[in-house]
Amino acid sequence: MRKTLVLIEHTQGQLRQTSLHALGAASELAAVEGGTTEALVMGHGVGAVVDALRSLGCARIWAVDHPQLADLTADRCADVIAQTVKATEPSFVLAAASTFSKDLLPRAAALLDAGMISDVVGLKKEGDETVFKRVQFAGNVISTVQLSGALKFLTIRPSAFPMANRNATQSEVQDFPWQPAANVTWTQVVSREERVEGRPDATEARIVVSGGRAFKNSEDFERVVGGLADALGAAVGSSRALVDAGITPNSLQIGQTGKVVAPELYIALGISGAIQHMAGMKDSKVIVAVNKDPDAPVFEAADYGLVADVYETIPEWTRRIKGS
């Protein structure tokens, strides 16, 4: 029986919404390949995450709860995945594409001599084979890829797959007895920034308000972009230029090498629209661009474009929302 093992991501004791899309992708895979979905949760103190998973249609949830997994570094996690895969023999290991899974899944794949496809946006049966669509060349090419071998690794774009449905059946939970090798010096985490509470993550939000080169400092960005985002209950994003300039933190970067988002509404403020930025947002349902430059390439992809100064227009928009 074919099985897909889905790697679950969590942060601050909460299940990441992107993992629900990974489970949704596993259902699509099961629809063409047959078989079942199992989930793997790693960490220390993962009870709440496991509970949140129980009504999502997994045939089984493997919980690896271990003090040495308080820090989920790639060397630890790849070792856990390798042991779990050897014991449970899935055909696929699948996770949502994020810096977390991109760090550790290829390492685990190498430990198991398995091939891997990153950033899958679709899958279908072609003859006897399941083939995968993935994005490359900064979103300029969609390739159809075949993957051979008894074990296959995939990361999927959360925006390309629906979230798994909740159902009444409670998944069986089983502890997996991870045996860390003795005398291993794991990578040591010295410090870690956590996401600021209060605003949703850009990969999970219905609306994303994003700012670009028009903003000259962090205060202006926070007041104008952050102000509109808060009024709309939206997430905040940024172009690479602002991160490079130290105006915004890297965790806000949208694009080929940052986060890839596809919200219902993406509002690009003072963003010129470099290919590398567009690669991270062009699958949004509705794109709004506000830019002073009428020739900015961002307008080519925008459903609604407004040629205007963001410093004047956007605070006015925020005031109207608050006033209404």
Partner: protein, 266 residues
């Protein structure tokens, strides 16, 4: 596979060896077009350059060498004859020597990682510095796979490297979805670079002249005894559906109104 990492590896700066794998890719500024038959991308008339993340890795290796003058930087490329041009750029920037592993067909990340691992075992570097992803394939796998094959620590998506006093450890700032994570890794390790690690220098004329005299060694996968069969196979390529040109609205009022009544997203 070796389990665990050496507990202590004192590195004399005179012998610090850094291996920098680099890839020749279509320039980041190039407009990529898919061939009408979907068999690949149009390469005629396309400018090729060093993968930008790899240029950052070369630059960082040079900066480490500037602080540890005895260090040796080896640039490595797996590719066709043309990748020697890219290696010459690394040599002109300041790498000491270069190795090309000759292949004529594309290989997937796991196959590449196996070749890199074979060269690693031959060269025995203290650090592998490489780009986090190549901007053609965008897979973001090879560095992590290499670290897994070697059983050594990894620090990916790194925007700052602080070498320890004895050169045996490095404190690396990683760019993650949540923000910066700092990890301490013990050498030998694989470190993959993110955009903000540094700004690569331009190649100077004296650099280009010097590069002509630096050695470029040629190897083959069979000479390295590597099985480099790719597990992934690209069957076809297509251009993504283009968004239709949208509407220019005349005012904020019109924008808000259309978002509410037409797009129904507010």
């Amino acid at each position: 596979m070796r389990i665990g990492f050496p507990s202590k590896l004192p590195i004399n700066s005179l012998q610090m060896k850094i291996l920098v794998p680099i890839k020749r890719v279509p320039d980041y500024d190039t407009r990529i077009r898919v061939k009408p038959d979907g068999s690949g991308i149009v390469t005629e008339g396309v400018k090729f350059s060093m993968n930008p993340f790899d240029a950052i890795a070369v630059e960082e290796a040079i900066r480490i060498k500037e602080r540890l003058p005895g260090a040796e930087i080896t640039a490595l490329s797996i590719g066709t004859e043309e990748s020697v041009e890219t290696l010459r750029v690394a040599l002109a920037m300041g790498a000491d020597r270069a190795i090309r592993v000759a292949i004529d067909a594309d290989m997937d990340s796991l196959a590449i990682a196996k070749v890199l691992a074979a060269v690693y075992h031959r060269e025995k570097p203290h650090m592998v510095l490489m780009g986090k992803q190549a901007i053609d394939d965008d897979s973001n796998q090879a560095g992590q796979m290499l670290a897994g094959l070697l059983g050594v620590p990894q620090a990916t998506f790194v925007s700052k490297i602080e070498m320890g006093q004895d050169g045996a450890t490095a404190l690396c700032s990683r760019e993650t979805d949540a923000g910066i994570e700092k990890v301490q890794v013990r050498m030998p390790a694989v470190i993959t670079t993110d955009l903000r690690l540094n700004e690569p220098r331009y190649v100077s004329l004296p650099g280009i002249m010097k590069a002509k005299k630096k050695p470029v060694e040629e190897l083959t996968p069979s000479a390295l005894s590597v099985d480099c069969v790719s597990r992934t196979r690209v069957l076809s390529m297509e251009a993504p559906a283009r968004r239709k040109a949208g509407l220019r609205v005349k005012s904020l009022d019109e924008l808000i109104d259309r978002l509410k009544t037409e797009a129904k997203v507010l």
